[in-house]
């Protein structure tokens, strides 16, 4: 039937465009419209400090705990108010955003990298490799790793490398599980047998054929992991176990705001709002990408 369609189509050179392609395009546009605000936020966080447009971020003990501009007593000199040292809320928010986004990205990479590799190995090699990795995955998913993470931090002290170690340890397993089952289904496809029949090595099949076919799923998982990493970081920093002074992230701003809650709620309000907006956008994109890559969902 499709053979006939091709023959009869006015533009015989044009590729077939089934409904699937249209569906793909809508999800691509939705990813674009979600990515736009995310891009703007990232751009502002990295570029705004360079422009000199932000209020001075230094201490000013004559203007401590000022409310944001839209409340009584606030001034437009400090649009989002000031903290207990008189530092400008907006400036601090923008500057802490850099570290937050950086931690989100690197934190996702350190979890997704090993996760993908282990899942790929387990799914492709089967046998004892698969058994070992599967037990590790099960163990990770069946254990209170947040507590173990806290224990590691308590043990090693808080620093960025320890934070990334924790993010990797808590995040790799779910990615490995998805990659493993996707690999299992790809390796059963006939083109893998065909390549083997053409004399392709196992390494070539894994890295040149199986991995590219997983790429979409991995990108979606990585996106979702960025959101998770930011949330875990914020919780750890809030408890004083993640980013600690002199560094500052949105999570550590929340920690500072906790003590001021009864009289200056805005100090904790804005960083939390920023985290929520950022993570929500990231999750929406991750969801759209995942739907886009899941053939079962795409067919609907």
């Amino acid at each position: 039937m499709s053979e006939l369609e091709i023959e009869l189509a006015p533009h015989a050179g044009e590729p077939l465009k089934p409904a699937k392609d249209r569906r793909r395009r809508t999800s691509r546009t939705s990813v674009f419209w979600l990515g736009l605000p995310l891009g703007v936020i990232t751009f502002l966080v990295f570029v705004l400090p360079l422009t000199g447009l932000l209020p001075d971020g230094g201490q000013d003990l004559t203007a401590t705990r000022l409310p944001p501009a839209f409340l009584d007593g606030g001034t437009w000199a400090h649009p989002l108010g000031t903290n207990k040292l008189g530092q400008d809320g907006l400036t601090q928010l923008v500057e802490s955003g850099r570290l937050t986004i950086m931690i989100g990205l690197v934190g996702a990479l350190v979890a997704i990298g090993p996760g993908t590799l282990l899942g790929l190995l387990a799914g492709y090699c089967r046998g004892w490799v698969d058994k070992t990795i599967s037990i590790l995955i099960d163990a990770q998913l069946a254990l209170p790793f947040i507590l173990i993470a806290l224990a590691i931090i308590a043990n090693r002290g808080s620093s960025l490398p320890v934070l990334f170690l924790v993010l990797a340890l808590t995040g790799w397993a779910s990615c490995a599980r998805v990659t493993r089952s996707a690999t299992l289904s790809i390796r059963e496809r006939q083109f893998v047998l065909g390549l083997r029949a053409a004399g392709a090595s196992e390494a070539r099949i894994v890295f040149r054929h199986v991995l590219p076919n997983l790429a979409g799923t991995v990108v979606a998982l990585a996106t979702l992991q960025v959101g998770t990493a930011i949330l875990v970081e914020s919780a750890l920093s809030f408890l004083g176990l993640g980013v600690v002074p002199p560094h500052s992230s949105w999570g550590s701003m929340l920690a500072a705001g906790q003590d001021e809650l009864s009289h200056s709620w805005w100090i904790a309000f804005f960083p939390g709002l920023a985290i929520t907006v950022l993570v929500l956008l990231v999750n929406l994109i991750g969801d759209a990408l995942l739907t886009h890559n899941d053939p079962r969902k795409r067919r609907r």
Binding site: D138, P144, I146, A151, A154, N155, L231, F269, V279, V282
Partner: protein
């Protein structure tokens, strides 16, 4: 048929025991890697003889392997060692705090189920409409908010500004409301999303259409036929999320000064009280593994296809 079920459960139990052993070993390693605890306990001014005596008392002068097996023996007999800061048995302290955490988890989880499931069903039965979009976005929002921040803002609104509810501590039912709502948010979102996915799969099955064709009312079709078939993954996530809440609610308990296990964990970490940290990790790991076992048993009992 029966033998295969037993074999399956046996394999799962073996895996879970392996997980437990990994956790126990990690907890042990963390305790040993932390350096000399005698310096923490006795302070920097202690005499070498005093420290030596304490090392002997704690069993730290034994070979590592002996310590490891002593530790495993302790775990299986319920003896999790003594705290460095409270001079008490860790097991006793954990059991003292447990009721508070259980209270919070039970309240939070009930709320999450009561809101999450109807929300998910609403989205699934009206798939593609604004109802669906609204419910789905709300659920996703619930997974994007740092819950402890939401807790802080609830405190500002209901305790500081309006003065309706207490800001922290435990005691009356009033004290429970804000922490429970905060606690409920994440699992609620999770349950709602899963219910939606699971229900919309179930409602697509041919037997739904045939039930409708037989003239059974829509509500009955949705709940009796659709939900019954979508229930298993939802039940699974409820049990597993309970485990997460039991150990992962550190930040929420901190915001509300709730005297549960999470607070105890935080205190022990801040004091570098490693025997206590270790004991809490071990306790949580055992709970996790038991809950996972419950899930597996549920699977083989409830789902006739697995049985």
């Amino acid at each position: 048929m029966k033998a295969t079920t037993l074999r399956r459960i046996g394999a799962r139990v073996a895996t879970l025991l392996a997980s437990l052993l990994i956790a126990l070993t990690m907890a042990f390693a963390l305790g040993r890697l932390s350096g000399d605890p005698t310096a923490t306990i006795l302070g920097p001014m202690a005499l070498p003889e005093q420290r030596e005596a304490l090392r002997h008392q704690l069993g730290l002068d034994q070979p590592l392997l002996v310590q490891y097996f002593d530790y495993l023996k302790g775990v299986f007999t319920g003896d999790l060692g003594d705290s460095l800061q409270f001079y008490q048995s860790n097991t006793t302290m954990i059991l003292d705090r447990l009721p508070f955490t259980l209270q919070l988890v039970a309240a939070g989880m009930s709320l999450a189920i009561l809101i999450g499931i109807p929300l998910g069903v609403l989205a699934a039965t009206r798939e593609g409409t604004w109802w669906d979009r609204g419910a789905s976005t709300l659920a996703l929002l619930g997974q994007s908010v740092p819950v402890f921040w939401l807790g802080m803002m609830l405190v500002v609104l209901f305790a500081v500004k309006l003065g309706w509810l207490p800001a922290g501590q435990s005691g009356s039912l009033k004290h429970l409301i804000l922490p429970a709502v905060t606690m409920a948010l994440y699992p609620m979102a999770h349950i709602a999303r899963l219910t939606r996915a699971s229900m919309s799969d179930a409602l697509r099955e041919p037997f739904i259409d045939s039930a409708r064709a037989r003239g059974i009312s829509t509500t009955r079709v949705v709940w009796r036929h659709g939900f019954k078939n979508a229930m298993m993954p939802i039940l699974t996530i409820i049990v597993l999320q309970t485990g997460v809440l039991m150990s992962g609610a550190v930040a929420i308990e901190y915001v509300y000064s709730w005297p549960g296990l999470g607070q105890l964990a935080l205190q022990s970490i801040q004091f570098r009280d490693f025997p206590l940290v270790q004991a809490i990790v071990v306790f949580a790991a055992v709970i996790f593994v038991l809950l996972n076992l419950v899930v597996d048993l549920l699977h083989s009992v409830v789902d006739p296809r697995v049985r």
